[in-house]
Structures are given as C-alpha cells and as structure tokens.
Symmetry: none
C-alpha cells in the first residue's frame, strides 16, 4: 500500500480510545495518520514533517490546545496547516476562543465521523488554493523567493535593503491590488512611530532603480498608493 497519494493528518489527543477511533475512521477514508498524545511530541515531529492537517484536542498533559494552536499559527512554517479542534469543551466561549485564535474549524465531542471527514475535506479543498509555493512570479521577469528572502530580475539576483524587500513583498502578496502609503508604512515600521508619507515615494524610487527592467511593474495610483502588477501592459496612444 503506497501512501504516496494519501494525505497526512496528525491527530493530537491524550485519550487513546479517541485516537484509535479517529485513526480507524480516517484510515478507512484513505488518509495517512499519525497520532500524538501530547504537545511536545507534536512539535518534535513538525520539525521533520509538515502534515496537511492537524486535529487538535484542548486538554493535553503538557500544553493547552489553545496554546498549541496559537503557536502553530504564529510560525511561518506551520501557519498554513489547517487546524480542526476536536474537543469535549462545548461552550460558545470555548468555540469562539478557538476560532479566534486561529483554528479553522471547531468540532465538539461526541462527533460524527462522517461529518468530521466532510469537514476535513473542506479544509483540504481550501488549502489546495492557498499558495503552497513560496515563490511568486511577475510577468516572467520578477521572482520573489519568500523563504530565501531573495529577489531575482531576469534570473539575476538583486540586493535589496530590508525595507525595500518588505515593501516589495507586501505589494507582491496583494498582487494587482493597491496598497496605500499608510498601509505600507504600517508594514515596514514598527508602529508607534510616525513616518512621513513621502518616505514611501523614496523607497519606491530606490526599489524601481534596483529592479531595472521590472521597475515598470510597480504602478502608482494617484491619490491612493502603489501596486505591483502581474503582467506588463502596453501603452496605446
């Protein structure tokens, strides 16, 4: 039996019975399962392997499930993993807390395995759309590697300062959408420090200089801000 196509799901729960039950059902539904009885072993494993989804209980011997969830969602390596909280704690407050903290779904015990599987599939369907790739391309000439903090223009690496890189990244992640100068300032500087509007203009100018051919990808939207376009446009006179 190959697990090649089987999607890997982590189950974190300290009750062996539940793990057993879940594991059985999910394996039947053609998933590849690993179970963990506490938070520490989960974190250890995450170093080597990233699952496609995590099913998380709240009451664990070492950590609090909410805490784990928060940590996973605050880490760039793991924040993309959908988390389904599966727990006996069924008050509205707990649900709201879990969902606000970053959980993608919250199911209370006792649960229907069929519904759980359906909800797992919803998450997997959605994360299919999320950019799994950490590389962004623009008009075949600009390439951003978010893992390596690397920018290439026509396959040639260019050096950017941190702020320049941040601005480019912000624009790149909202490709084609306009970012106000205000928003850009918010993003590049640790708040609580007033920075002048025109500063952004200067950064943009420097960025454009370094981008060379790709400079035209950064468009100014008069009165609003800037945007990075994905395709070069041709002027029609």
């Amino acid at each position: 039996m190959k697990n090649e196509n089987k999607k890997l799901i982590y189950i974190v729960d300290d009750e062996p019975d539940i793990c057993e039950l879940l594991s059985l059902n999910l394996k039947k539904a053609n998933f590849n399962i690993k179970t963990f009885y506490d938070g520490n072993t989960l974190f250890e494993n995450l170093h080597n392997e990233i699952p496609e989804l995590i099913i998380l209980d709240i009451m664990l011997p070492d950590y609090d499930g909410f805490e784990i969830c928060k940590q996973l969602k605050n880490n760039s390596k793991t924040y993309n993993i959908p988390i389904i909280m599966l727990t006996a704690r069924d008050t509205v407050e707990d649900k709201v807390l879990g969902l606000e903290i970053g959980a993608d779904d919250y199911i209370t015990k006792p649960f229907s395995p069929k519904e759980l599987i359906a909800r797992i599939n919803v998450q997997l369907r959605q994360s299919f759309n999320k950019s799994i790739t950490k590389k962004l391309y623009f008009a075949d000439i600009l390439e951003l590697d978010l893992d390596k903090y690397e920018v290439k223009v026509n396959n040639k690496k260019i050096d950017l300062t941190l702020t320049e890189y941040k601005i480019l990244k912000l624009l790149a992640e909202r490709a084609n959408k306009v970012c106000s100068r205000e928003r850009i300032i918010d993003y590049i500087s640790s708040h609580e420090k007033y920075i002048y509007d025109r500063t952004v203009d200067v950064h943009i100018k420097n960025l454009r200089n370094k981008l060379g051919t790709a400079a035209a990808l950064i468009k100014n939207i008069r009165g609003i801000g800037y945007k990075l376009i994905t395709e070069l446009e041709y002027e029609n006179s």
Copy 2:
C-alpha cells in the same frame, strides 16, 4: 457612517424573523448586510455585486439551498465567495451533503450569534489570501474592481482619474438610485470646501468619454443628479 470598510454579507433566508435577527447581530458586529428571501433575487443581485460571504438557508420558496450552493461554486464569478449554510436541517447526511457540495461551513439552527460571527471571521480570514475581489458589474459591459481601483469596459481596462473613479464608485454602489450633485461633491471632496455644481457635470462628461460603450449607463435625472443603471435600456420614441 461610510460602509467603505464594512464587509458586505448576503443573507438568504425566507423567514423574516431569522433575517431580522441575523441582520441585527451582524450589523452590530460591523458588517454591511443585505437580505434576500429567495434564490432569484439573490442571483439578480450577484449579477451586479459580489459580497464577501453568503449565509444560506436550505429551504427557500423557489430554489433548494443545496442547488444554489452548487451553482455558486460552479460559477467563476462566485466560486470564491465563502458560503455558510445556516439551516434547521441537522442530520449528518445533510451536513455532509452541504459540505461536499462546496459549502465552507454548516451551522444548524438554533445557533449562537457569537459562534456564527466567529465562524464568519474564520471564513473572511481565509479569504483574505484567496483572490477574492470586491467587484461590481453592470449590464455585462462595465466592471468595477474595488481593490484594484480598476475599471473595465468590455473587458478592456480603462484609466480613470481618482475623482472620476470615486464618482463611478459612488454611483455604482447606489445602482439605479439617483445621486444629487451635492452628494457627489460631498463624496469626492474633503468636505468644507465649496465646489461648484457644474464641476460635477464636467466630471461626468469626462467619465462618459472614457467609458465608451458603457457611457449610456450613466443617466442624468434633470434637476436632481445622476444615476448608474444596471441594464441598458432601449429608447422608445
């Protein structure tokens, strides 16, 4: 006052009481709400405006909620809109069906408004990355993309100045309703700065020039102001 930042949510339910209750709660949570009592009016509106999320009941006078969901998820204009099914049908079979058909969440009545809001926020959080774009459509020829500050006529991008864009946006958001020149001036200028009435006329004229085929969508209402219509009318003499 402005709904600029308020996210637009559609509620589709044939029970006025539920609509009322939902509407109240969601407005309090700072959302912008529109309610629909059947599928047809929903589809009509989707033609002109794309909300950020839809809350959908199953039992409706004309269509079946499952059917609506399926259609929305199969249409390129709407498949990105998160759908939360909110219904009294609480069997596992119904839930599984709804989720498999493409719903992003499934909540059963009676529900906790707080949990609903938390789940709405989960969806909006996720769609932040998705390429959801607030778009408005008019008569199949005019398209407004609010995030990109982009206007297309017959799928061709046209460049507008900020004021022109603002006017068009204002008219678009109040489609088919007349906007007085006064109101338009209010909207385009930072208040407390008197601007002459005729100025609006000039902007409208420039706007029409740029809109080409779509120019006819901007109607003047003598003595009152202007409006943007959603369907082209044919003159009868």
